[in-house]
């Protein structure tokens, strides 16, 4: 026990120790910001992988480590689409995952946001045109926000999620 406490004291706070990126507010349309209003203070995300190379998953996982720690912004990862405010979809939609994506979308309660994460979700990336790929995410479900990158860095994902919460009346929400 003492060893664990000693280690924690020695390590100190690492949260926020990452290179900053450019502001991502250009990614957010006024419609998306408006739709985001109910989730200004708390956003619960369900991640759905429809055929990525797993890079986007690794960066989504990194969001929950102690360096990025998205919980400090009121962003949670839910285990089920039924508990989610937003679906984060990664990868091109494969022929085999098309149905599962639509089911997950239907299972997510309204109002809901759909965030397409990574180049593949936006335009199928290197898999574009393949017989096994049934198009980008917005061919199958309505997409509100598009975050490009192959894969986007965790800091870029955080910036995009934060930009979504710009309140048109009050300016940017404070982080803490």
């Amino acid at each position: 026990m003492f060893r664990i406490i000693k280690k924690s004291l020695k390590t100190r706070v690492v949260t926020g120790q990452y290179p900053k990126t450019e502001s991502a507010s250009r990614l957010v349309s006024p419609e998306a910001a408006h739709k985001m209003k109910p989730f200004q203070h708390s956003l619960t995300i369900r991640e759905v992988d429809t055929g990525s190379c797993n890079g986007c998953e690794m960066e989504m996982n990194a969001l929950t480590n102690s360096v990025y720690d998205v919980e400090r912004f009121g962003i949670h990862i839910a285990a089920s689409p039924r508990h989610a405010d937003a679906l984060v979809v990664t990868g091109p939609v494969t022929v085999n995952m098309e149905r599962a994506l639509k089911d997950a979308y239907k299972a997510t309660p309204d109002p809901k946001m759909v965030i397409a994460l990574g180049d593949c979700a936006l335009n199928c990336g290197v898999y574009k045109g393949s017989y096994a790929v049934a198009g980008p995410v917005d061919r199958h479900i309505p997409v509100d926000v598009r975050i490009p990158g192959c894969p986007p860095r965790p800091a870029e994902i955080i910036d995009a999620l934060q930009a979504l919460r710009l309140d048109e009346n009050r300016g940017p929400q404070s982080l803490f």
Binding site: V14, G51, C56, T64, I77, R99, Y131, A132, V133
Partner: protein, 535 residues
């Protein structure tokens, strides 16, 4: 392509010649790999002999098919065995001429062939006669009949129609037996796959893994590429193994173009491959602890993994080391300051990690959860040809870095970590050992790294239908690539094999008798790629 050596005195080949002289049509060799071309009907008996004979003990490492049309009306089938006793490769091959669609399944004798043969059936429409399980593997039930994407008359950008169909799971029936379906979308941030458990009370009686949800047609996409342009796609087979896959691809193409990669580039490739091993192993140790609800360790390991990802980013501009490997060498030079910066950072990480390791090993309840959980016996591991971290935790003493040195590993001595218990703890201990070994290797690389160029040019152009095999010990295990040249520098066929494809069936055995709540823990201790498996 192949240099025929009539005086070859390979003991394995001689033994086979003596036992099956009549079955062997041709003896050949390709860059030191002996190739025996067999009559189609004799493949199962020869494969059985190679697999079981005490002087050979071959495990099936790769099985692939090639459609030679439109130039020749035939399919080639290739069976690559790793001979345990010689730590060497042996390739058996056969062919199906004209309209012949039947080949003899070797699965009843060589268990490891089961998914390969089903894959060949799906992708080429060739039927493995005598295979005990002829259900679809890659093509899910809503794919139309007679869709075989790797046949040459199938267009890569075909828009598939939807059909009706049903996949039948293996059922266990009886009083109190329940089925628990899980997936394809899971609770965590992980990739999609379906698991079907049959349980009676708590213990799992059977697990059936159903995958290929993420099938993106990677091998067909390779066939649309020029040989020198396939690296970005190889990097995206499985992002966590960016360096492993791109390196295996580059090596195969470099073999075809006869490129002698400069020694400094080989050292740099080794360095980046070890960095990739490090960030994945650190993440895995944390994730295994997390699945026993030991969050402290998970937080610390996640922090260290992140440090390496940020180091990668600073060095190469990519957290996943994308864009590093190129056909002919590497894309970037590291300065002496950068090298010592890497070693300093890793020294600090190792100090930090050793403290975490002491906390882990002092925790009795963690050890209790890990020991005897998810045991994969050496026998089952060997039967399935299991490799990599999972294999070395079950007594399978294989590591390509030592057995078939590539990049700069011929200049380094590797200490291979080996355990025999085959439980989650053994798989974690292999990772712990390999973390220290990787850091040690990077220190050695820094002292030995020669100066010089980092790119080399091709010295020849491969003829159509020449091919090359390449193998890399990635952090998960053996990554194999077969690249066959086509017309005008195009790829005719590229077979990609991530170790996950081999290790997934084995997890079905490791969970038997365990409880479902331990499945995430066992799954995490295997940590297999879905993207690399589904292709």
């Amino acid at each position: 392509m192949s240099t025929i050596d009539p005086n070859s005195s390979d003991p394995a080949v001689e033994a086979l010649q003596a036992a099956f002289g009549a079955a062997i049509i041709k003896r050949d060799s390709l860059r030191g790999i002996p190739i025996l071309t067999l009559k189609k009907d004799d493949v199962p008996v020869v494969a059985h002999y190679v697999h079981t004979h005490p002087s050979l003990r071959g495990t099936l490492s790769l099985l692939w098919a090639v459609d030679h049309r439109p130039h020749e009306a035939r399919y080639g089938l290739f069976y690559l065995f790793t001979l345990t006793e010689h730590r060497d490769w042996l390739l058996l091959s056969t062919e199906l001429r004209d309209d012949d669609r039947l080949f003899h399944s070797i699965t009843p004798h060589v268990h490891a062939a089961q998914w390969y043969e089903r894959e060949i059936r799906d992708m080429f429409g060739l039927i493995p006669k005598g295979h005990p399980d002829l259900r679809r593997l890659v093509r899910h039930e809503h794919w139309p009949k007679s869709t075989h994407p790797l046949k040459k008359d199938f267009q890569w950008d075909t828009v598939l129609k939807r059909a009706q169909g049903e996949y039948t799971f293996r059922h266990i029936e009886g009083e109190g037996v329940f089925e628990v379906p899980v997936g394809p979308i899971h609770a965590g941030i992980i990739e999609p796959g379906h698991f079907r458990f049959s349980v009676a009370g708590e213990p799992i009686m059977q697990l059936e893994v159903r995958h290929f949800w993420k099938h993106r047609g990677v091998e067909k996409l390779f066939e649309q590429q020029h040989m020198t342009a396939g690296v970005p796609l190889a990097e995206r087979v499985s992002a966590d193994t960016t360096i492993g896959h791109s390196l295996a691809y580059c090596q195969a193409v470099e073999d075809l173009f006869d490129i002698d990669v400069p020694i400094r580039a080989r050292y740099l490739r080794t360095l980046f491959l070890e960095l990739e091993r490090l960030h994945n192993h650190l993440g895995d140790v944390g994730a295994i602890c997390n699945d026993t609800a030991y969050v402290v360790a998970h937080s610390h390991c996640g922090r260290l993994k992140e440090r390496i990802m940020q180091l990668n980013d600073r060095l190469t501009g990519s957290r996943f080391l994308r864009g590093v490997n190129r056909v002919g060498g590497v894309a970037l030079q590291l300065t002496a300051e950068q090298m010592s910066g890497i070693v300093e950072e890793l020294n600090d990480i190792e100090r930090d990690f050793s403290e975490i390791e002491r906390i882990l090993s002092a925790n009795a309840s963690l050890t209790d959860r890990l020991e005897t959980t998810g045991v994969l016996s050496e026998r089952i591991a060997w039967d399935h040809g299991v490799m990599g971290v999972v294999g070395r935790a079950s007594g399978i003493d294989r590591d390509l870095r030592r057995d078939r040195p590539f990049a700069a590993y011929d200049q380094l001595s590797i200490k291979v970590s080996l355990y025999r218990y085959g439980d989650v703890r053994a798989r974690m201990r292999v990772r712990l050992d390999e973390i220290h070994e990787s850091i040690r290797l990077i220190r050695v690389i820094r002292t030995q790294m020669p100066s010089g160029p980092i790119m080399a040019d091709p010295t020849r152009t491969p003829q159509s239908s020449e091919w090359a095999l390449s193998a890399v010990e990635g952090w998960r295990g053996e990554i194999l690539y077969m690249v066959m040249a086509g017309q005008e520098g195009q790829i005719h066929r590229c077979k990609v094999r991530d170790p996950s494809f081999v290790n997934w069936p084995a997890i079905q055995w490791a969970v038997i008798g365990n409880i479902i709540p331990d499945f995430p823990l066992i799954n995490k201790s295997f940590n297999l790629s879905y993207a690399g498996n589904d292709l």
